[in-house]
Subunit: 260 residues, 2 copies
């Protein structure tokens, strides 16, 4: 088998410890190129840049770490990389390792997941990988090793078109990992609000603060993490609510225009 070609991206920026750990692990099984944001892009959701042009500069740290820093979002990076910057099409997109978990509602805010989603949109199998600690100094060996194994698995099996895998790794040592679970996106949520502060000239400003309310369903991503299991969630980007679609057949919605 030809050596596979993997595009690595993230949302923390091309020089984060997480992306470095990921590249070092994946290059044992593949040729790896980094196309990632030049700067921190957390919680950007699936943003793309449409009002201004993008810029990118080549990056290189010895022979092990080469690619492009893109002045844009994670989705921009993957889109620009695949369509323009790279001279061949990647076999796989892997985004991460994010410093902090991306489960439940956080999935829709996540730049890490967004980079992988853009890969799936472009028809390339894709994986997002996050580690459940916000510390930039946390031990990423378990996450990096699992990223390589799940990447190999996806390269061998493929994924159905338009899907991606969202992987979350608990912040424990390899010995403490209780296994791997295929999960669904949880319904944990942020019971959040804003802390109002006043600046020196008397104007209010607002910091987002919140408490995370856990989904207790044992099948979901968060539940796996709480059991010290690695969580793997298959995702897509089709948002139709089929149940409401069926209900709305009874609404006789056509009358809403005629009434005018």
């Amino acid at each position: 088998m030809k050596r596979p070609y993997i595009l690595v991206s993230n949302d923390d920026g091309y020089d984060s410890p997480g992306i470095y750990a990921l590249v070092m692990s994946l290059r044992r099984i593949a040729d790896v190129v980094v196309v990632a944001p030049a700067t921190q892009q957390s919680a950007v959701g699936h943003a793309i840049t449409v009002q201004t042009p993008l810029r990118a500069r080549p990056i290189e740290r010895g022979k092990t770490f080469t690619g492009w820093a893109v002045e844009g979002t994670p989705a921009d990076s993957v889109k620009l990389g695949v369509s323009t910057l790279l001279d061949r099409r990647p076999d796989l997109v892997v985004s991460g390792i994010n410093h902090g978990m991306n489960t439940s509602i956080n999935v829709i805010y996540s730049g890490t997941v967004s980079a992988a989603t853009e890969g799936a949109i472009l028809g390339i199998p894709a994986i997002a990988i996050s580690h459940a600690s916000h510390s930039l100094k946390s031990d990423l060996r378990v996450a990096a090793a699992f990223a390589r194994k799940i990447a190999k698995e996806v390269l061998e099996r493929g994924l159905p078109g338009g899907t991606l895998l969202n992987v979350n790794v608990p912040n424990v040592s390899a010995d403490e990992i209780e296994g791997v679970a295929v999960t669904t996106q949880g319904r944990s949520w942020w019971d959040d609000g804003f802390e109002t502060r006043r600046d020196p000239v008397g104007r209010d400003y607002y910091w987002l603060v919140g408490k995370y309310v856990w989904d207790e369903n044992p099948i979901v991503d968060d539940a796996a993490l709480r059991k010290n299991m690695i969580s793997v969630t298959p995702l897509h980007y089709h948002l139709t609510d089929q149940r409401l679609f069926e209900i709305m057949q009874e609404w006789d919605i056509g009358r809403l225009h005629k009434k005018q």
Copy 2:
């Protein structure tokens, strides 16, 4: 029935023609408050601001148009409005009227949809409304009138928790509207790339360009618009791919950790 209270937001900014047309229409049936980005926020996806505090300033144009301009994203605006700025909880969130359609893949890039999604996340029924013309001078009367009717319908019927309606209105006169269709999110996509240009000092920059490839399925949002029908798509934000979830039960994924 008590007069309902509607939070209006968008992604084009609080002073766009689209939001003005929406407010003027909705205030015939409800008390309306605007909480919208201070500046243009197109294609921000479901971004929220977590690294810096938010600021907001009161806006007022006579008695008809009051609210807040938030220096943040559409999702920020709704979250800050509901949790902090408003003194009572809205009965409905309506986002728009966007200048340009938000169908198929565009839904996941859309700031307009994102504001409505944030309403749904906060447990408030929500509607996104977009008009299929990018011109700031286009005639928004059909869209504004339909927004009021669908808002009234949702206020009366409610929506299941965690769902929203994504409405797209074709750019034709009221007479030319062929009806209203309940649709699914289409699979049209952008066959896109970047146009590379060189700046005066010799560095490349990249403009996003693309051709829209239409989904021909007659049930989808785009198909309705092409038939001059108003499209109403029920959405949620649960991204689990159930089909791949079933397939992956056979992967024996647990062995991926043991192998280490």
